[in-house]
């Protein structure tokens, strides 16, 4: 979904191509350029001495810069995660991460083993099916609705046990695939915050998540530091808008944060539910809708009016969100041209409530 209040042009298909998304973001930000220092890398962020505040050094400033608050919006699809597996370094075939996948034609006639079953794995698998030699081999650790049963042309395998110098790959169930040309890891990314002192311990040692946040946003120990866009399996633009609307009100002094103990309790409860690993920031429907409701409620406690509106998901949005995978499938099967859900046969009757 677009940023609330900033629709895409009406001629853009229901699920826009990436070129249309970057155009949209350029249009969206046309009045914000004066605030942006381009080609400027933040090199370090440390707590100011004396406190409070933060001291930044950048690639373009000779003197450190002081700020009362810092918002981190650096994303988490930058640093590929490729697991350490026995034999990985001596495997003669090509090892590639989905970050570096561009076109399926690069894999024409190759025997390809795809590892992973996330959004990018599913998207890449569809394309590879047309090009690879034989069936596409895919390691699927936890099957999902879209892979049960697996699409035609995919041979599902369990986790890799080891890669071998003769070009074969063995699996935990004892199966062996010989002559594997390419192992393509669609195994996700690491959370990285390289500009903070390592001693702050902001991420887990293996980069699975950011720690000590409240609601994935405020740093509990000093909420003048915050993070945007950490949650995954969400609709990112409206989610980021809700988070930003909340942070802006807190930093303006119009919304208060609970006591630190209470913020800590939130994280403990989340860890109980989801563990402290890579699932910590993951939502999916309907939990992402509940998360947005929670942010909306906090935003609406603001003293005084005005400010950027948060996303306000009601029956229509939840109805669409709950059907998004089905709508997208129909969109793709009908040539990726549809401009509305209605022409794909998805008509909201106004009676459906969130499950």
């Amino acid at each position: 979904m677009s940023f609330p209040g900033h629709p895409f042009p009406s001629a853009v298909p229901l699920f826009p191509h990436h070129t249309q998304i970057i155009s949209y973001l350029r249009t969206y930000s046309s009045d914000l350029h004066s605030a942006i220092a381009f080609r400027t890398q933040v090199l370090s962020i440390v707590p100011s001495d004396p406190s409070p505040g933060w001291t930044l050094t950048t690639s373009h400033s000779s003197t450190p810069l002081h700020y009362d608050a810092v918002m981190i919006a650096t994303g988490h699809y930058n640093t590929p995660y490729i697991p350490s597996l026995p034999g990985l370094s001596t495997f003669p075939g090509t090892i590639v991460h989905s970050r570096n996948f561009r076109l399926p034609q690069e894999f024409t006639g190759k025997k390809v083993l795809l590892v992973g079953n996330s959004v990018s794995a599913v998207g890449i698998a569809e394309q590879l099916l047309q090009c690879v030699r034989g069936p596409l081999l895919q390691v699927i650790r936890s099957p999902t609705a879209s892979t049960t049963p697996p699409p035609e042309g995919i041979k599902v395998l369990p986790e890799i046990a080891a890669l071998h110098e003769d070009g074969s790959v063995s699996f935990v169930d004892g199966a062996v695939e010989t002559g594997v040309d390419v192992v393509l890891f669609a195994t996700g990314y690491l959370f990285t915050l390289p500009f903070f002192p390592k001693e702050m311990g902001l991420i887990t040692p293996h980069g699975e998540r950011v720690v000590n946040t409240f609601q994935h946003v405020f740093y509990q120990r000093d909420p003048t530091l915050c993070f945007l866009g950490l949650p995954m399996k969400v609709i990112p633009f409206p989610l980021a808008q809700s988070q930003a609307a909340w942070v802006a009100r807190v930093y303006a002094g119009r919304v208060q944060l609970p006591a630190r103990e209470e913020m800590g309790d939130w994280e403990s409860k989340e860890v109980e539910k989801k563990g402290s690993g890579r699932r910590f920031h993951c939502y999916g429907f309907p939990w992402d809708a509940e998360y947005l409701d929670g942010i909306e409620a906090m935003v609406d406690k603001a003293e005084g009016g005005g400010g950027l509106e948060p996303a306000r998901w009601r029956e229509w949005e939840s109805w669409v969100r709950g059907r998004m995978a089905m709508i997208r499938k129909t969109f793709e099967e009908t040539g990726k041209r549809a401009l509305t859900m209605e022409e794909l046969g998805f008509v909201f009757e106004g009676r459906v409530v969130r499950p």
Binding site: H17, L190, G229, A259
Partner: protein, 148 residues
């Protein structure tokens, strides 16, 4: 920041609500001193439990990254109208973060498990994006609020 001794906070509560006499009357003066103290303690425990985190005054804010999240952050701060500096730092030459498609790629270290090892730009200063040629918005990315 927060005292764990509610008894010591009673004077603060009284200052907050006015004089001790007002508190006395509010609590229905006439009850025993012990009762009143107990009620005050309960009130204070409740206050401590729901006490808010106080932040220093914030006027200068830095935003790291001009992708979707950084852009909407700048807009949200601007709408508040009370910040004297809203500075966005972006390593690329354009907005949009990961949506900046790059035809070129860069080999990733194998394995890649250390969050302290972060890839820099290529020799031309380009930061490699995860966007592939045929990528359209997935169901996790974008369903439109269409202009009407």
């Amino acid at each position: 920041m927060i005292s764990t001794g509610p008894l010591r906070l009673i004077p603060a509560l009284e200052a907050f609500n006015g004089s001790a006499e007002v508190v006395w009357r509010k609590l229905g003066g006439g009850r025993s001193v012990e009762d009143i103290c107990l009620t005050k303690i309960h009130a204070q425990v409740k206050r401590v439990k729901y006490m808010m985190t106080t932040l220093p005054t914030i006027r200068r804010v830095a935003i790291v990254g001009a992708g979707a999240s950084g852009l909407v952050a700048a807009r949200a701060l601007r709408e508040e109208g009370c910040f004297t500096a809203i500075d966005v730092f972006e390593q690329r030459g354009d907005v949009g973060g990961l949506w900046n498609y790059t035809p070129q790629t860069k080999a990733t270290d194998v394995p890649s498990v250390d969050p302290n090892v972060v890839e820099g730009p290529d020799e031309k200063g380009t930061y490699i994006s995860a966007v592939y040629d045929n990528l359209g918005a997935s169901h996790h990315i974008c369903l439109l609020d269409k202009a009407v």
